[in-house]
């Protein structure tokens, strides 16, 4: 007890050093476990969602980027395809196409322009408010709503792509009509809107004051300074319109839900031609390869963690040794006052034991926290 008392008193007196040692110790202990928890969680989440998504249609290029963007709403890295690709799937009568436009963000969350079919397909339900019905409306994923503290009646503004590009995408204020129930998937981290609203954000559709006005005497004026609306309201919604051919409007990807296995096989066969600018991928196959690679990298990561852990332990040991050297006069006094070697060893062991105990406690708290919030963390990681 005396050794513990003195060790505790010393740790409290050198609290900054003790805190650093405890945190470093906790990280050494917890990082491998946290990594394992997150890896297992990511594997499960990746696999489950991929297996629940039969096919993804998108621009030819990296299949991984296409799947990560369309299934997990990761950064939109693929080239857009046109709505014509969606129409082709409709016209085939083999599958249900669900359009996805994921080019924009708001407050760090991906804006997903889609159709109502998406919510049925993913089994998403409204926890609060109502589903989107009009242009300019949005529903929030559970995590986004929680993080931003927003709900029905509030608004979010889409992030402009480039503040200094006068010809670029302008921010559009979205009216929040509902919040989705939490699912522990990337859907919790997204803001959903109708795909047409996404096209308005993209500048393909817009609303503005009349270009040509006539006064009471019939004098016609062409207004050179047209005010473009950045908010869709009941008063101006009728002025919103789209330019160009609808079949040319961009989509990030299309989720393809075949009506049966045979239909899926037939559809996949239609997109095998490497000259075709559009490709169809099976997310489960892509993700299986990704998970395999992740676990190979994880093995390497474990080795790196081990090496770093050994180096950190060496640094901790050096720190303790130096601290002990600084206490040489105290040890000398203790010996003069009748302390035996065993007492001196007890003092050292008690201090190390306390540091280890506190580090282990903090590490356990970290692991428990990560384990309890694993789903949300994994969803957040996958949305990066």
């Amino acid at each position: 007890m005396n050794a513990l008392f003195l060790a505790l008193a010393h740790l409290r007196w050198t609290w900054a050093r003790s805190l650093v040692l405890i945190i470093v110790g906790a990280l050494i202990l917890s990082v491998p476990m946290v990594t394992q928890v997150l890896l297992r969680g990511s594997e499960q989440a990746l696999t489950q969602r991929a297996e629940a998504t039969p096919l993804v249609l998108g621009a030819r290029g990296s299949q991984l980027d296409l799947v990560m963007g369309a299934v997990y709403f990761s950064e939109d890295r693929t080239l857009p395809i046109t709505r014509a690709a969606e129409d082709d799937v409709w016209d085939s009568g083999l599958a249900l196409p669900i359009p996805l436009h994921t080019a924009f963000q708001t407050n760090g969350a991906r804006i997903v322009g889609t159709s109502l079919d998406y919510f049925d397909f993913r089994g998403l339900t409204i926890a609060e408010g109502r589903q989107v019905a009009l242009l300019g409306e949005a529903v929030l994923g559970a995590q986004v709503a929680d993080r931003l503290g927003l709900g029905p009646g509030d608004t979010v503004v889409s992030a402009p792509e480039n503040l200094f590009d006068l010809d670029g995408v302008y921010p559009l204020e979205l009216q929040i009509t509902g919040v989705l129930a939490a699912t522990g998937t990337p859907d919790d981290e997204a803001v959903f809107t109708d795909v047409k609203t996404s096209w308005v954000i993209a500048g393909i559709g817009h609303g503005h004051e009349d270009v040509v006005t006539a006064d009471a005497e019939g004098n016609i004026t062409a207004n050179a300074a047209i005010t473009q609306f950045q908010r869709i309201t009941p008063d101006n919604i009728d002025s919103f319109h789209f330019h160009g051919s609808a079949s040319d409007y961009p989509l990030s990807a299309v989720l393809v839900v075949p009506y049966d296995t045979r239909s899926g096989t037939i559809l996949r066969g239609r997109y095998l031609d490497p000259e075709n600018p559009v490709q169809m991928t099976v997310p489960a196959e892509i993700v299986a390869g990704l998970v395999d690679r992740i676990f190979r990298i994880a093995t390497l990561l474990d080795t790196v963690t081990l090496v770093i852990g050994i180096a950190a332990l060496g640094a901790i040991a050096l720190s303790l040794f130096l601290a002990w050297s600084l206490r040489a006069s105290e040890i000398e006094t203790a010996k003069r006052l009748g302390a035996g070697r065993f007492v001196i060893v007890q003092l050292a062991v008690a201090e190390i034991a306390l540091l280890l105990t506190l580090s282990a406690g903090l590490a356990a708290a970290l692991v428990i926290a990560v384990t309890r919030n694993g789903d949300q963390l994994v969803a957040w990681i996958l949305a990066l």
């Binding site: 203790a334 003069r336 006052l337 035996g340």
Partner: protein, 220 residues
Amino acid sequence: MIAVRDLTFAYPHGGFALNIPTLSVDKGERVGVIGPSGTGKTTLLNLVAGLVQANTGQVTVAGHDLSALDEASRRRFRATRVGFIFQNFALVDYLTAFENTLYPYRVGLGLRLTPEVRDRAQALAEACGVAHRLKSHPGALSGGEQQRVAICRALVTQPQLILADEATGNLDPETKEAILDLLFARASEMGATVLAVTHDHDLLPRFDRVIDFANLRQPA
């Protein structure tokens, strides 16, 4: 209390040797030890405390022949029978003044911290005039206050022998006298013997007896 006979001592690495044919100090006596630096005054204190062992001869303290005791017994003897006061106070910086007073009970072999010991420490602190600083750490105390705390620490085990090595060396003249008065008064209450090394000749009249190492020590 202390009886030294035919003592010889030399450090293993050489360069220093001590040779004391005979020395005795009575119980309750207050003895000052003076002499030039490097003549072995501190070594004598270490021999009497059992911190080092004589090469030949006999050192008997409070009836214990230190050369006959094993290491653990000498530690136990030191913890229970001897109180130390050092020139540099040697307080533990991370403990409060009160915990420093109780420090021998935290590390000393054969000592057990009880409520009675705590009461005694409190009473000593009041007697030494540092009761109001007991929650302070050494860094916040003046030199005089630190040495008062060190005296409390030396006396809390109710030792039979108090060894003071330049205990007033770092203090101003007024504080020196006050500290020595305090040490003698408390030692006298306990009936403890004081063996104090000093370079301060002004303080010598306060001792019952002074041993001049220039005369005592014989070249080996």
